[in-house]
Amino acid sequence: MTNKFLPWLVAAALGVAATAAQADTLADVKAKGFLQCGANTGLLGFGSPDDKGEWKGFDVDFCRAIAVAIFNDPTKVKFTPLTAKERFTALQSGEVDVLVRNTTWTLSRDSQMGLIFAGVNYYDGQGFMVRKSLGISSALELSGASVCVQTGTTTELNLADYFRANGMQFNPVVFEKSDEVVQAYDAGRCDAFTTDASGLYAERLKLTNPADHMVLPEIISKEPLGPVVRQGDDKWLTIVKWTHYVMLNAEEAGVTSANVEQMKTSDNPDIKRMLGTEGTFGEPMGLTNDWGANVIAKVGNYGEVFDRNVGPETPLGISRGLNALWTKGGLQYGPPVR
């Protein structure tokens, strides 16, 4: 046994990938033949396997879009279900190539963990759900409440901040798995259940009697949720980032999965560049030039993905709100393809 082998052995034991410096995730993914995506363990509308075991959801579709950008095939992606607590370690250690799991962009996650956020695919904020029978109408009336919350989330910290800032007492009941949080709340262990508003919409569907519960009006934090990658691989970061932007730009330009073929013949230079009929914007990224067109054709533009998974027509029934395009009063804004 030479000591060339030893560090690897120990590094493996410690779960630390040994060669971060020369990381080329794109090449690794291409060599593997599929994208490994960190997903929710099960959050309806965002990332959960359906009754056929097929992964569905807003974040899941984002992973599929990346897979299409690389392979032109939305099935070339595998999902690793991760709890809030496991997710960063899984990404750091290289178990997943990208983490798309309603993860809030914060300074410490960007600076201390060797990770970097590739944008915001969903602008959110933290809210509270309570039983209607509790008879309260504001989160400020929650002093003394027991609150169910999932461990390893920004939720846990915001909750403490909010009660402290308002001089209120509370008793946290903390679980690792979201299912346990919801079950405990449903069983009456807690007066309130708190998480991102999007999560509240989704988890409410799992309650025995969704109609007995209501979401309080206060949104107590900013939760910009987005995909995350490892630091030190700018090429990969660019691909993830622009997958989101190209879907935004497509929505803005009116390009949808239905009309993308006709749009390829459009005279609009913006659309031509986006769909790869003009210029060579894909190659420098390590992709084909028509990658954008493929993403729109196989997954859809941002609005389509939103409406299909979480929009007003779905059981979640979320309106676009902050996630409307900037042209419609929202915050979603894709930089130009040029």
């Binding site: 590094a11 040994a18 370690t89 410490s108 201390q112 409440a145 903390v174 690792e176 262990r189």
Partner: protein
């Protein structure tokens, strides 16, 4: 070389060359192993640090002094949102120790009762005990914990409909609420009385057993101990004019405030661990008792001992030698199993430190290292204590 010269010549004198001396060889190999392990650990650690740095992941133990910023439901030391990660670590550690210590005591009691019941000549008692062991031992602990948790939680009423069996005591889905004694000035005498009582009890036990060994005379140690334990502190209270007040739990808004509280998560975890571990302890106790030759029981019978006395004075003391070593394993298991707490929301070390703290700081390597070290230390201390106890039990036999 010297070694080779001595090879053939030294056999007659009974001395072998150091090269073949098993003692020296042993030392050399052990030293080599120690060096190997140290080098391995060093390379591993420095490599890990280097990798963490090159990946821009914060490293080192400085984070322990940073503000934690999250709340914990059950804290044995003063802890607030503004406390540090280091404080959170202590809170989690104490919660683990609390549930493990109480769990070990209760599991031992329950395990002994069931183990003895399995050998009962009463058919029903023996079969019930057997059924208990077979069912509980063969179901995964995690399932049992979830079962108890949701059984406890679902069967309790909301705070407004609390059971209030006695004044000041309330039971509801938020926990068991009890009056909290608040000690005023002068209560040091009360504390002192408890200490004095405990010391006195130990002294009396020793004296009584020595006297019985020497003269055969018995002394009512149990009653004396109880009288001392409750009498002395009470006397201290009377003398100082009852410097104690009780803080009563009160229903305010959603919940009771004030008083002492036992969380349902704690109760469920304790229940699950005790019931599960007791089934293993019961088997150990049964095996230990059966390992004592039946002749001993018959001899005791011939001397006119009643069954209970035979068990207490003849069988169990001898069975203990067989029971203690595997019992130690169960104690270690219980302590380690308490880390399943996170599934039912009890804030133990794994939940608070290897859960929330790990996630908020992202320092997985350090946090897991500390956590492993803690469990290792607890386990080693437990086995050291049990080994000492085992030695004592072995010496007591005559």
């Amino acid at each position: 070389m010297a070694v080779q010269n001595e090879l053939g010549t030294d056999t007659s004198s009974g001395r072998v060359s150091p090269f073949y001396d098993p003692r020296i060889r042993g030392i050399v190999f052990q030293a080599a192993l120690v060096i190997f392990v140290v080098v391995l650990v060093y390379i591993g650690a420095s490599n890990a640090i280097e990798n963490l740095q090159s990946q821009n992941i914060a490293s080192g133990f400085g984070f322990l002094g940073n503000t934690a910023g999250f709340a914990i439901s059950q804290t044995l030391i003063p802890y607030s949102v503004t406390s540090t990660y280091g404080d959170a670590f202590v809170v989690g550690l104490l919660n683990t120790l609390l549930v493990a210590a109480i769990g070990i005591v209760l599991a031992t009691i329950l395990g002994f009762i069931i183990g003895i019941a399995r050998l009962s000549s009463n058919w029903l008692v023996a079969k019930v005990a057997t059924a208990y062991v077979e069912i509980v031992r063969n179901l995964p602990l995690l399932l049992q914990l979830l079962f108890w948790y949701f059984a406890v939680v679902k069967s309790l009423p909301s705070p407004r409909e609390s059971y209030g069996p006695l004044a000041g005591i309330y039971l509801n889905i938020r926990g068991l609420f009890m009056p909290k004694p608040v000690f005023g000035p002068g209560s040091w005498l009360f504390d002192a009385a408890i200490v004095v009582a405990i010391v006195a009890i130990v002294v009396i036990w020793r004296w009584a057993s020595q006297r019985q060994a020497a003269t055969g005379q018995q002394f009512p140690t149990l009653w004396t101990s109880l009288a001392l334990f409750f009498g002395l502190p009470l006397f201290a209270l009377v003398v100082t004019g009852f410097p104690v007040t009780f803080e009563m739990p009160e229903l305010k808004g959603f919940n009771f405030t004030g008083g002492m509280r036992m969380e349902p998560e704690f109760v469920a975890l304790l229940l699950g661990l005790v019931i599960y571990t007791a089934s293993f302890i019961a088997e150990i106790v049964r095996a230990g008792i059966q390992a004592v030759s039946h002749g001993q029981t018959e001899a005791a019978g011939a001397l006119g001992f009643r069954r209970g006395l035979t068990l207490r004075l003849v069988v169990i003391p001898q069975a203990m030698r067989v029971i203690i070593p595997p019992l130690t394993n169960q104690y270690l298991n219980l302590t380690k199993n308490s880390s399943l707490a996170v599934a039912i929301g009890y804030p133990d070390l794994v939940s608070v430190f290897a859960g929330t703290v790990l996630n908020q700081t992202g320092q997985a390597v350090e946090v897991i290292f500390i956590t492993m070290l803690v469990y290792l230390t607890i386990s080693l201390l437990t086995s050291a204590f049990m080994n000492w106890f085992n030695l004592r039990m072995a010496l007591v036999e005559r």
